[in-house]
């Protein structure tokens, strides 16, 4: 469990990055922080592993104030997937992934064995193990970053726009893999993104931030879509543009989902949704997405 209690962060120089932020994140929960650039997302995330210390207020892990914890030990116990991968350029893929376990005293052999497993889990070709980061594509670097974040098997995983630097197709793939991983591993995840669709896909709950780390709305994707708290949220999630207003049209005997612009967004599966939107969402939506599964 991660707690933010009236957290405020003022950087030297006077920027007020976070005004007064309070939030509780349950264990095994994935929370997505989403907001415009400069709204304090990274600042909030880095207060969890003490890369940033709050000016006032408390950040707690399982009730204990992180301010009293040794920062080095704390950071080694938390997986941190950084924006733009943050890999060490002079170390191979394998050595990057084993960084934290080796710091924690795991034997090199054991750490490497685990790293190879993780490479498989995040979908990296084993042949890439001896490459250097500069010899990888952006998407491969991001995957190495995710593998490194998972390497020490942390309970908490911080992910700062981990899929920001890749094209939409690879991003979609990585998001899918993260969802699959999370179903298995049940980490406590704090996920930062600019992209509301990504936030809805990854987050059990989504926190929509205004500048200054002010919370515009917290809730499940369903709650936010069903009842946007205000115009800011409505415009952020695209509800005002009708982008999220879908309707059903019957075409050639099938129920086709059509968006506000009249474009087909998917096909309704044979059995109509029985409520339980939560479980459905976890397995991919009940409507298959356009372009991915052409009708037979």
């Amino acid at each position: 469990m991660i707690g933010f209690e009236n957290v405020r962060k003022e950087y030297p120089g006077g920027t007020l990055a976070v005004e007064d932020f309070t939030l509780e994140i349950a264990s095994h929960e994935a929370v997505a922080l989403v907001g415009t650039s400069g709204s304090g997302k990274t600042t909030l995330m880095r207060m969890i592993n003490r890369m940033v210390d709050p000016t006032s207020g408390r950040v707690t892990i399982d009730g204990e104030d992180v301010a009293g914890m040794n920062p080095v030990a704390l950071r080694r116990s938390i997986g941190y997937v950084m924006q733009a991968s943050g890999l060490l350029p002079h170390r191979t893929v394998l050595d990057n992934i084993t960084t934290v376990p080796v710091l924690r005293g795991t034997s090199k052999t054991a750490a490497r064995e685990r790293a190879r497993e993780l490479m498989h889990i995040v979908g990296l070709d084993p042949a890439l193990a001896t490459r250097y980061p500069a010899q990888l594509s952006g998407g491969q670097q991001q995957r190495v970053g995710v593998a490194r974040g998972l390497a020490a098997d942390p309970n908490i995983l911080l992910m700062d726009e981990p899929f920001g630097a890749v094209d939409p197709i690879v991003r979609d793939e990585l998001q899918g893999e993260l969802q699959r991983l999370q179903r298995e591993l049940r980490k406590t995840i704090v996920f930062v993104t600019h992209d509301i669709d990504e936030a809805f896909r990854i987050g059990d709950r989504v926190v929509i931030l205004r500048p200054g780390g002010r919370i515009a709305q917290v809730g499940t994707p369903q709650e936010i879509l069903a009842a946007p708290a205000d115009d800011f949220v409505a415009s952020f999630v695209g509800a005002d543009r009708g982008a999220r207003t879908l309707h059903i049209e019957r075409i050639e005997g099938r129920d086709v989902i059509v968006d506000a612009d009249g474009r087909a967004a998917g096909v309704l599966s044979a059995a109509p949704a029985r409520g339980g939107a939560d479980e459905d969402r976890a397995d991919g939506t009940s409507a298959s997405t356009a372009g991915q599964e052409p009708p037979r």
């Binding site: 950071r75 060490l88 002079h90 500069a134």
Partner: protein, 223 residues
């Protein structure tokens, strides 16, 4: 004495008699290298830790740059003479001067090696849970190694070229030929001594250039 001094110097060098014995070229070269190595080593023990500290923390930067500037501005011959007056004839005076001569390059090399590390990479290393010492030894130094070796290279070339001054106050090294030649107006010997010093400086410069290449961190230059 009417012959061309350069042909004379070559003849002097070609004489097999000069290539053996305690005053022979090999022995003097070893002495010369020894002074150089000792001067650079002592200077490195002082300057490298300070440079790494200043580069990593950014503290005392102005002081270090200022001190290096002052050390650079001191005339080495003057220093050797001054120290010789203070501590007497022998090796101590020139060695002290060589140390002072070598410090600015080493300090700048160590400092810039660490300071050149990409702040994002250092931040990433810290965020993964490296201690400050681990960041220095496992990230900043490996990445900055060519600059660090570059500092050693600069210092070595300066000291090796200046180490002839050891003979000025009675010690050995290749400077012996130069000062002997100067004393007896034996220009071929003087020139031969200078040529040997120049050749040694070039060889060391090349060797350290190769070391700089070899220590470049893998993975940072994509072929």
């Amino acid at each position: 004495m009417n012959e061309n001094p350069f042909t004379g110097a070559l003849a002097w060098l070609a004489d097999p008699m000069r290539w053996s014995g305690p005053a022979g070229i090999p022995a003097r070269t070893v002495e010369h290298l020894g002074y150089t190595a000792l001067g650079v080593l002592v200077a490195a023990l002082i300057a490298v830790p300070i440079g790494l500290y200043v580069g990593h923390t950014g503290r005392f930067k102005g002081l270090a740059v200022g001190a290096a500037g002052v050390a650079r501005a001191l005339p080495t011959l003057g220093l050797v003479t001054l120290f010789a007056l203070l501590v007497g004839i022998g090796l101590t005076a020139p060695l002290l001067s060589f140390v002072i001569l070598a410090i600015p390059s080493l300090l700048a090399g160590a400092y810039s090696a660490v300071e050149s590390a990409d702040p994002a990479t250092v931040d990433a290393a810290r965020a993964q849970g490296m201690t400050e010492m681990q960041i220095l030894t496992r990230v900043a130094i490996p990445l900055g190694m060519p600059l660090l070796v570059g500092g050693v290279r600069g210092a070595t070339v300066q000291v090796v070229a200046t180490a002839m001054l050891a003979a000025y106050v009675g010690a050995g090294g290749l400077g012996r030929y130069i000062f002997q030649g100067l004393g007896s107006q034996d220009y071929p010997e003087m020139i031969a001594g200078s040529l040997l010093v120049i050749a040694l400086a070039l060889v060391l410069d090349l060797a350290l250039l190769l070391l700089q290449r070899v220590t470049a961190p893998r993975g940072t230059a994509v072929p």
